[in-house]
């Protein structure tokens, strides 16, 4: 047996083990009638898709009460649910029988649901992560194995998918496949993969802008004819994928519009529960609803989001490179998370994915971001009874980073824009100062999170302020996210891929 293969297997098995053990915990809405939670939503979609004809999936009707967890995800999710539903029906028809199965909960059913998440993860997300790590040429085999282990242990995704219950690993996995394909010049495949991710979960739109700008920018760089041709190829691939997935819904205009309407619920509030984004934090001080209409708020969100997207998108469009692309993914999804409309706390997983990809190059800030991202979902996780699992997996992740990325880099100031600037302009300032300042900031921030988390679990909030802890947590996390957004923007704008630009120059002169 090859030791190299053996270590890789051990790492993957460990990642699967952690996932499974987390799944032994409770899920959202466990034993909480009448609405239950996301677990019931997914089960209900299995019930709807297996029992109703495809045209009725998104329409309100006698058999389909949209107010009870109506289907509001794009068709690919619906197909996936149909497939799972068929298997569920085969195992036990009670699990998917129309109406009768509402709120169905049992030991076996929980197992089935958990297995369905695990299978999706093992088929799509885990191979993508392994491929990503093993395509990094600079690292040794051991470093690659350790890196993939660390990436697979990101607690936020594990807790939401295996604890709370969702299928994020599928849409994020597809996005990751797209990123890998693009970084290896398979633009057509990559755009198709991203389109699939988008058709699985509309939230992937957070990543759409960088994809668009990167592809366009890459085509722009090529010679006129060749560039136009590749642009056409990409366009065809995107449209074909879209048409393929949406086929049953394209025959009728009303049907199509209804699906779109279900997917983008503009009628809902600006944020769900307490989210660590800009609007939610601002609403602590300013009550928008008192002086702004729903429409106005919608427009405001749209305007700020678009404005926020401009710097990173333009930068990527005119100077497209692999590194910038990943950073732009972070920036665009963070801007969406902070400023867009109808944001869920779980949407922080979308910026978290590209941040994970930056881990080997910026281990310090990435770990910081990923830990705070997990922490920002705490109010949700408290509700689901997942606090202990969250705490333990977070500690595991931080330790994994410490152990796994030792060989890669341990200096927190590497790649820090302030340090680079100061080393150029303020040579008298010792480098160590930054090192300790950043490190202590990191620990202070984590201790603050831990303290706030403990408070929210242990101390009951005063009766006049029932939402005190969730609000504090979201403001605390939001302040971090704003800081990270600025940081990643600066990093992106300062990144100059010397090799690529040099190559371009030689090309152009030719």
């Amino acid at each position: 047996m090859d030791t190299r293969f053996g270590t890789l297997c051990t790492a993957v098995v460990f990642a699967v083990f952690v996932r499974w053990v987390v799944s032994l915990n409770s899920y959202s809405g466990m034993g909480k009638p009448p609405m239950y939670g996301d677990y019931e939503a997914q089960r209900h979609w299995m019930e709807i898709t297996t029992n109703l004809p495809i045209k009725q999936w998104y329409f309100n009707g006698t058999d389909n009460d949209l107010l009870y967890w109506g289907l509001d995800y794009p068709p690919l999710t619906a197909y996936h649910m149909w497939l799972c539903g068929k298997v569920a029906e085969w195992i036990d028809p009670d699990w998917t029988s129309l109406f009768a199965s509402r709120g169905y909960e049992s030991y076996e059913h929980k197992l089935f649901m958990r297995y369905s998440v695990l299978i999706g993860d093992v088929v799509i997300y885990i191979p993508a992560v392994l491929l990503y790590c093993f395509l990094q040429k600079k690292f040794t085999h051991t470093q690659k194995v350790l890196l993939s282990c660390v990436l697979l242990l990101f607690p936020g995704l594990i807790i939401i998918d295996y604890g709370h219950f969702q299928y994020n690993s599928i849409s994020l996995g597809l996005t990751l496949w797209a990123v890998i394909a693009l970084s290896h010049r398979h633009e057509v495949l990559g755009s198709a993969a991203f389109m699939l991710a988008l058709c699985y979960k509309q939230m992937s739109l957070y990543h759409a802008m960088p994809f668009f700008c990167y592809l366009l920018g890459k085509c722009w760089q090529q010679r006129w004819k060749k560039g136009f041709f590749s642009l056409c190829c990409i366009g065809v691939s995107v449209l074909a994928t879209f048409a393929f997935v949406w086929m049953p819904f394209l025959s009728d205009k009303d049907l199509f519009l209804q699906v779109v309407h279900r997917i983008f619920p503009v009628a809902r509030g600006v944020f769900e529960d307490k989210v660590s984004n800009f609007w939610c934090s601002l609403s602590v001080v300013v009550k928008f609803r008192n002086f702004m209409s729903h429409e106005g708020l919608l427009k405001l969100c749209l305007a700020t989001t678009l404005l926020g997207l401009v710097p990173s998108s333009l930068d990527l469009l005119f100077r497209p490179s692999g590194n910038k692309f990943k950073l732009a993914l972070v920036n665009s999804s963070l801007v969406f998370f902070l400023f867009s409309f109808q944001v869920h706390e779980k949407s922080i997983l979308l910026p978290a994915l590209p941040v994970c990809l930056l881990l080997p190059w910026r281990p310090f800030t990435s770990t910081w971001f990923l830990t705070i991202a997990t922490f920002s979902m705490l109010p949700l996780l408290v509700k689901d009874g997942l606090v202990i699992a969250t705490l333990i997996t977070s500690i595991l992740f931080i330790i994994a980073v410490e152990l796994g990325l030792q060989g890669v880099s341990s200096d927190p100031t590497i790649g820090c824009p302030v340090c680079i600037w100061s080393s150029k302009n303020l040579p008298w300032l010792p480098h160590r100062v930054f090192f300790y300042a950043v490190k202590s900031g990191f620990y202070a921030s984590l201790m603050g999170a831990l303290f706030l988390g403990l408070l929210s679990v242990v101390v009951p909030p005063p009766s006049s302020l029932p939402d005190l802890w969730p609000v504090l947590i979201s403001v605390y996390s939001c302040s971090h996210f704003i800081g990270f957004t600025l940081y990643y923007h600066i990093v992106q704008l300062m990144t100059t891929d010397s090799k690529e630009t040099a190559a371009q120059k030689t090309k152009k002169t030719q």
């Binding site: 030791t3 053996g6 098995v13 083990f17 499974w20 053990v21 197992l111 595991l396 330790i399």
Partner: protein, 536 residues
């Protein structure tokens, strides 16, 4: 081994243990809760008489005191768990407390393993030199080629300990810690301390009587007799009365503290009757993979043949319970029925060569460990009413030997794989299947890789697992198919109602073959080791 590396092994395994908190718990969880309640709310004189719950206190007094101490802390978590009448009580705080108590008490194991790793440095001295020579040319030695690191992982990540303690629920990690501590002290030639820890251990759980003969012979031979003749035989005149006296005092003192109060209250008979219940049956509900599993299956086969040949009439056959039935006495049909006395005689007979062998040579720590393993083997294979969990008693000390010699490593790999697989039926709930399979895979992958690297030889056999012969490789691969059949195939073939116990029986018989083979091989290694010594 560097302390930070050891620290990281400890931290990761502790996190795994914490993650296992919401897993399935067996009735042993309730057993220990009940003991907490008994020791907390009943006077000492009532401890071994209390029988509100069917799970009466049947561990020696030290363990009762341990539960007593725990109950002081348990009060802070949830006082309701400390009421004797509160049967099957399992609030979240109770579960958390009990699970945490196992995890925290495991730090005894952590310390003991650290001590053992330090000793292995001495044991492996020769190997280490080789290792350094080999690796010295390269820049840094591979982690897997460091015996201390490998040993730390093999002991702390031991599959059996993890699932039995942190899923099934028991305190074996803590007890194994005491055992390893006593072994470490003996390896360090601090015999009195070793004897102290071992007698303390006996007063925590009397199952360790299995390995007591090895301790007895070893301490007598190499502590009480201080010199050997040239040929390695004991020099009878070298008996040190001082040492004998000291040893006696240490051991008797521990027993006196533990059993003294109960003797004073005139309860010794009652305590002993709780510790050694008779009328339990030759084999446990699920057959441990030992000699009796093979014996039982031979009996079944012989009965079937006899009925076919009309040597036995169907009426004569007692309604035999297959494995998986209730705990009860079991009568054989074709072969003679086994009484407890027979098992005792057989066990002692199986131990005897090892003990004699130990006595007849200048005892080195390695000889002692070998004898320890053989005693555990004999008790496991031939003992009366042996639990499958007792395999841990063999695998743990064998890990120490596995990192220092190639031959022991071979036995270890085979035995740990089949022995650990035989623990699978212990966790029968479906939700635990992926956990146990993953843990088992991780442990086995690591064991094969690390021992393969540690004892790498220039001669590589193609298509074989590291260190194993083709036959053993085939057997090990067979385990995978066995497990596939048991968890998937049996159900798919629709035999669940007709032959409900077939998977359990197959598992225990198949594993019994591997355990018996490992035992014979290990015996052979131990006994031939002496000839090697004589020749040189």
């Amino acid at each position: 081994m560097a302390a930070p590396m050891y620290f990281s092994v400890v931290v990761t395994v502790t996190i795994v243990k914490l993650l296992l908190i919401p897993s399935y718990r067996s009735t042993d969880f309730e057993v220990h809760r009940n003991w907490l309640a008994i020791t907390h709310s009943r006077p000492v004189s009532q401890w071994y008489y209390e029988d509100t719950s069917e799970w009466t206190l049947d561990y020696p007094p030290m363990f009762a005191w341990f539960e007593f101490l725990l109950s002081r802390i348990a009060k802070l978590f949830d006082p309701a768990m400390l009421e004797v009448t509160n049967l099957n009580y399992a609030s979240f705080a109770t579960v958390l407390f009990q699970r945490l108590s196992v995890i925290v008490s495991d730090f005894v194991l952590v310390y003991a393993v650290y001590e053992c790793c330090q000793c292995v440095q001495v044991l492996c001295c020769f190997r280490c030199c080789q290792c350094v020579q080999l690796v010295g040319k390269k820049k840094s030695p591979h982690l897997l080629s460091q015996p201390m690191f490998v040993l730390a992982v093999l002991l702390l990540w031991n599959f059996g300990l993890l699932i039995v303690d942190h899923i099934h629920f028991q305190y074996n990690g803590f007890l194994t810690g005491l055992k390893l501590l006593s072994i470490a002290r003996i390896l360090q030639r601090r015999h009195l301390e070793g004897a102290f820890w071992f007698s303390l251990l006996l007063n925590f759980k009397h199952i360790y009587l299995y390995i007591a003969p090895a301790y007895f012979i070893f301490l007598l031979r190499s502590y009480c007799f201080t010199r050997s003749n040239r040929d390695g035989r004991v020099q009878w005149t070298s008996l040190s009365l001082m040492n004998l006296f000291g040893l006696g005092v240490v051991v008797l003192e521990v027993f006196a503290i533990s059993f003294g109060p109960f003797i004073a209250m005139g309860q010794l008979g009652q305590v002993l009757s709780r510790l050694f219940p008779v009328k339990r049956g030759l084999v446990h509900a699920y057959w441990a993979p030992n000699f009796w599993a093979l014996y039982n299956i031979a009996d079944k086969a012989a009965t079937a043949v006899a009925v076919r040949a009309k040597l036995l009439s169907a009426d004569d056959i007692t309604k035999a319970t297959m494995t998986g039935g209730l705990v009860q006495e079991y009568t054989h049909n074709a072969l003679p029925t086994i009484t407890p006395l027979v098992t005792v005689i057989l066990t002692l007979a199986a131990m005897m060569p090892a003990l004699v062998h130990l006595w007849r040579r200048p005892c080195t720590p390695r000889d002692f460990l070998r004898c320890l393993v053989l005693c555990a083997f004999s008790s496991f294979l031939f003992g009366y009413h042996v639990h499958e969990k007792a395999i841990i008693l063999i695998i743990i000390p064998l890990s120490l030997l596995a990192v220092e010699s190639r031959q022991d490593g071979q036995v270890f790999l085979l035995l740990s794989t089949c022995g650990h697989l035989s623990l699978f039926p212990l966790l029968f709930t479906q939700a635990e299947t992926p956990s146990k399979v993953c843990l088992m895979l991780m442990f086995s992958l690591f064991a094969f890789m690390s021992l393969g690297v540690l004892h790498s030889s220039s001669k590589k056999r193609p298509y074989c697992l590291p260190l194993l012969s083709p036959l053993e490789t085939a057997y090990t691969v067979g385990l995978v198919f066995l497990q596939l059949y048991c968890s998937l195939g049996h159900h798919t073939l629709g035999l669940t109602t007709r032959l409900p116990f077939l998977p359990l029986m197959l598992t225990s018989v198949y594993c019994a073959v591997g355990v018996m083979w490992s035992w014979l091989k290990f015996y052979l290694i131990t006994l031939t080791d002496m000839q090697h010594l004589k020749q040189s």
